[in-house]
Structures are given as C-alpha cells and as structure tokens.
C-alpha cells in the first residue's frame, strides 16, 4: 500500500528506456519515502520480464499478460491501471511522457480524480504548508516542469489526491540499475478481473513502427547544429566532424523545422534531453528550450559568430567565428593531433 508505481512501456517484449529511467527515479523516491517500488507490465509474452526489472530495485512487478493487450490500446491498459490503483492505493504513479503515457495518464487520472503533471523535468520530495488551511503536508511529490513555452519553471503539488501522478520525457532522468541480484516479487494479474470485452472497442488495423536508427541519446559526443548552419548541405560539415570524433549529430528545433535535420535529432524541451561527455553547439543561439535539453553535458563548446549568443553563457569554450571556418579547422587539427 501507498508505494511508488511505475507503468512500464513495452514494445516487442522490450521495456522502453523511458520506463527504466522512471524506475531509477522511482527507486530513489521510494527509498526517501521508506516505501516500496512497484512496476506494472501490461502486454503479451511477458515471461521473464521481471528479470529485467528487479535490478532497478523493483520490489513488486504486477504483470498482466494477454494477447489482446499488445500492442497498446487505451481502454484495456487504463482499465487495468485504474483498478490496480484502486486496490493498491499508490502514493505516486509515474509514466513516460510519450504517445502511450500521455494517452493513458490523463484517462487514469480522470477516473481516479487525481492530479497529473505532464512532462516533468525533475521530481523531488518536499513539504508544503497551506497557510490558509493551517495545515502542513509532509513528503509530497514536487513535480517540477517548464511552463509557458519554457519561459518559467513551475513546481506543482497534489496535496490531497492520490496517486500523485506525473509523466516524464525520455532521456530526462538517468537510467541506472542498482543491483543485478535485487529480488522482488511477481504479482500475476488475472486479466479477466480487470478488463471487460467492451474495453476492446478500438482495434489496431495497421502498425508501422521502426526503432529509430538515430540514437543521439546515448552518444558520448554530440555535434549539434542550429539554424546558423544555413542549409541541409551545411549540416554535412557536422556529419564530417561527428564522424571523425566518433559522435552523433544533433539539431535545434529551428534547424529541424527548416528541414536541415531529421526530427529524431532534435534536442531540447520538445526533443530529447542529452548529457554527453562533449557537446559542440554550432550556429545555435541557445534559447532556453534548447539549453534545457543539453545543459548537463560535461563539456560544452559553442561556435557562433555572435559573441553575445546566449549559448555562450553555458559553454565551457566559446569560439567566436563562422561555422564554415571553424568546423573544418576542428577536423583538420583533430586528424593531425589524434593517434
């Protein structure tokens, strides 16, 4: 009772990174609250899925396995969560801010009359004093998220309703198993107790889903380009630099919108969050929505012809110059000095 729950997204029997990241966060929260961490896995052919989950410090895995539960559809997954949450009364429930989590979360929160905060960038435990009601709440979940197009950061709380629900984008939290030998329990759910035939009102007729070949999230080095790269052709320079350094190419939204780069490369508030060892920002002005997705990079180099570009304030090295001059030189001197 009153534990921390994480809904696990499953595609082809694999648990989504966003869910493993949430389990890592969930573990920290559960430890702070001295409660258990529980995972919910809904899908088909989930045999042995608990082995993937336990190392993240999961104490209980609730499994609902039925051919009709994969791929994801709204009503059966929400019916299971709603009923399970009514029985187990979690204090916190987390899910990915993905097309699944953002379809499911609001449905569940509406049925349970619980608050839901979308797209959190940080989750913390804290207290709250309601001066009007002269009441102090301990151990609330602070749901921290950007608001108003990223121009402000708001801390949201749900003082009275449970579970406190939040969604988090992929890549925002770190994914870290805590113990390969961690032992939890499996609670196999009897699916018929949770869903009825009418829940299968929507069926999937066609599905074309491909794992993206672009994986900027785990690249140790990211060479990222903005609108200042000028064109799709201009981006070729970035691919050259990324190739010699052994990195991936990222992009700002302005560059993606202009068609210079693929959407899967977008970094920032509405793209992915990255924290590579080295981030080279080329022709990116550094609006907050972009910085929000890369500021935790270990080393940041900014190349911009504007000495006052906002990106410079978060950079370790600022190269004031034209990308077309600077990038070829980086390649040249890297080739000369490496090996």
């Amino acid at each position: 009772m009153n534990n921390v729950f994480v809904y696990c997204e499953i595609e082809d029997g694999l648990i989504g990174d966003v869910s493993l990241e949430l389990l890592t966060k969930g573990r920290t929260l559960a430890t702070q609250l001295s409660c258990q961490l529980e995972a919910v896995a809904i899908g088909h052919k989930l045999n042995g899925i608990e082995k993937v989950l336990f190392p993240y410090g999961v104490d209980v895995v609730h499994i609902a396995d039925d051919p009709r539960l994969a791929p994801y559809t709204t009503l059966p997954h929400s019916a299971i969560l709603i009923k399970l949450f009514q029985q187990e009364k979690p204090q916190i429930a987390l899910m990915g801010a993905t097309s699944v989590g953002r379809d499911l979360g609001p449905r569940v929160s509406s049925a349970l009359h619980s608050g839901l905060t979308a797209d959190c960038t940080a989750l913390e435990i804290g207290s709250h004093e309601d001066k009007k009601a002269d009441k102090v709440y301990e151990n609330l979940l602070y749901q921290i998220r950007p608001a108003f197009g990223g121009n402000i950061v708001a801390t949201i709380i749900n003082p009275d309703c449970r579970p406190q629900m939040a969604t988090v984008r992929e890549g925002v939290m770190k994914k870290e198993p805590i113990d390969p030998a961690y032992k939890g329990k499996v609670n196999q759910l009897n699916v018929a107790d949770y869903v009825s035939d009418t829940d299968f009102a929507v069926s999937v007729i066609e599905r074309h889903v491909e794992a993206s070949k672009i994986n900027i999230k785990s690249a140790p080095i990211i060479v990222s380009g903005g609108y200042g790269m000028g064109s799709k052709d201009g981006f070729k320079l970035l691919f050259d630099l990324a190739a010699v350094l052994g990195g991936e190419v990222g992009a700002s939204r302005a560059a993606v919108d202009a068609g210079f780069a693929d959407h899967a490369r977008q970094i920032g508030q509405t793209g992915v969050t990255v924290r590579p060892k080295l981030y080279i920002a080329c022709g990116i002005s550094g609006q907050i929505q972009h910085i929000a997705g890369m500021q935790e990079s270990s080393i940041i180099i900014a190349i911009n012809n504007d000495p006052a570009a906002p990106i410079n304030s978060v950079a370790d090295y600022v190269i004031t110059g034209d990308v077309e001059t600077v990038i070829p030189k980086l390649i040249k001197y890297y080739k000369k000095n490496s090996k």
Binding site: S203, N312, T320, V326, N337
Partner: protein, 290 residues
C-alpha cells in the same frame, strides 16, 4: 450519413513568440503582453472536423470553448472557416481550473448538446503543453479515444478509422462511434477564412459582447439567429460546484521561477588556427576526445 461533430478549441497566449516584456520582475507571466490566439493544434482539429463535414453533407460542426468572454473570437474564427455553431462556456467559478477541472466543466457542457458522433480536440494547448484535456473529457463522457491523430481516414457504418502518428511510426486504429479524437500538429493545416463566411459571421457575438454594442448592432444580431454565439455559465450546466475551478483541481502550483541558467566560466577563443589546435590538444589530453 450526416454526423454531429464537436470541436473543443481553446484561446491561448502565444507562448511561441514570447518577448522580453512577457515576464514580470517577479517572474510571473504577464499575460497582457502576449497576444491571444487560436491554439494551433485546435486549428488542425477544426480542419479534420470540416473535412468530415465535406465528406458527409448535412453534418454539423459545433465549436465549444471555455474561457473568458473574449474567447468568442475563437468561435468566430471557426465560423469563418466553416463551422456551424459555437458556444462559449464562461464563469468565474471556472477560474483556476487545472486540466481535470477543465475537462469536468467541458464534459458537463457537452451533455447540453445533442448526441455527438465525433469530438475532435487538439492534441495539446501551447500554454500548458499537457495534452490531458482531450482524454479526460473522453473518460468523463465514457467515450473511447484516439490521440495523436494525423488524419481521420473514414467514418462508415458507425465506425471511425484514424491514422495516428507516434514516436517511431504510424498506426491506423478503428473503433465504434462516438469517439473522441485528438489531433497532432503534423496533421494538415486548417483552411483559411472563407470570404463569404467572413461577411456572414462578422457580427456574430455572445450576449455579453452585445451589451457593449450599439442599438443597430443589437437589432441586427437579434434578427439573425445565425449570429448568435451561445454563452453558458455555471447555471447552464448540470455540475457539482466543488468539482469546478480551484476546488476541483487536485494540482496546485507551489512555486514559479524564472528560468536562469548558471553562467559558466568559459574560455573564449577566436577562429585562429593556433587557438583551435590548442583546444583540440587540450581535449585530447584530458580524454574528452580521442
């Protein structure tokens, strides 16, 4: 088959074009400095509704918005593009609503309307980016939902088929009517205002706006039914007052901060060869690259 279609549209501050004066010194949002616009994805939603109407002659597209009286502007914009009727749900009792209280109020208002076949929403509103109101309205009305839609492919024999865009591809879903669909920004853009409809609906008003108008205007509006935009307040819907506004909102804003980034101490270089080579050597020697 003619369809009864509802579009949920919101008037939002234009957060995409936030100027320097949009934030007050205290770090709160200066709403007055932001123009109010038709939420972008709600325009995509309206277009899907209008396309359904094109394919199914005799259908009606109704638009419902909850907000201050000036949100009637959203209804007019929809009428100019081909919607048939609009309602503004406005009351102080709704102030401070989070998405749950908003969807509760909207769902109560929707019960005032004749039986609907399809409700179309935007995926999300740019003032909150939550994408919650659509699914929550569906849940409150006991309807199924299809989110992230890019195209309503067909409505036939009481079933709707929708193509949706998800992170790694597309899905085509099919389900029984009634259905609530939320539409992505990647869906086709909304048609422009139609000149004829602009002339027709230019003077469409909610009663509250008419109070400030002159006599001629009022009599013109009174004589033409199609110029009446519906105006509902809390007394026009059947609801539980405790579920509205602040008291009906489980989420509370504890704190709001302006975004400030810790400026780092940075080394500044030029594009000079010597400086660039030195930088590369430094990165290699500290194992950042290489």
């Amino acid at each position: 088959m003619s369809l009864n279609i509802l579009v949920l549209a919101k008037q939002v501050p234009d957060t995409r074009n936030v100027g320097k004066d949009a934030m007050t010194a205290e770090g709160t949002v200066n709403r007055a400095a932001l123009p109010a616009i038709f939420n972008p994805e709600d325009l995509n939603a309206l277009e899907q509704a209008l396309r359904l109407k094109d394919k199914h002659p005799g259908s009606t597209v109704t638009v419902l918005t909850m907000g201050p009286f000036r949100a009637a502007e959203v209804i007019r914009e929809a009428l100019y593009r081909g919607a048939d009727k609009g309602y503004v749900l406005s009351d102080r009792a709704f102030a401070g609503s989070d998405t749950l209280a908003t969807s509760y109020a909207l769902s109560c208002a929707i019960r005032n309307l004749p039986q609907l076949d399809v409700i179309v929403c935007g995926r999300q509103a740019i003032d909150g980016d939550t994408a919650q109101v659509g699914p929550q309205v569906a849940e409150k009305l006991g309807m199924a939902q299809i989110t992230y839609a890019e195209e309503i492919l067909s409505v036939e024999k009481g079933r709707i088929r929708v193509k949706r865009r998800i992170e790694k591809g597309i899905e085509v879903l099919e389900g029984k009517l009634p259905m609530l669909v939320t539409v992505n920004g990647s869906a086709p853009a909304c048609r422009p205002r139609n000149a004829r409809l602009l002339m027709k609906y230019k003077y469409a008003r909610i009663p509250n706006e008419l109070q400030a108008a002159n006599e001629d205007y009022i009599s013109l509006n009174n004589s033409r039914e199609f110029l009446h935009i519906g105006e509902w307040n809390v007394n026009d819907i059947v609801c539980e007052p405790a579920e509205l506004g602040l008291s009906g909102s489980p989420t509370k804003v504890k704190k709001v901060e302006n975004v400030v980034f810790q400026a780092k101490e940075s080394k500044t270089l030029t594009d000079n060869d010597t400086e660039i080579e030195a930088l590369i050597q430094e990165l290699i020697s500290n194992h950042t690259i290489g």
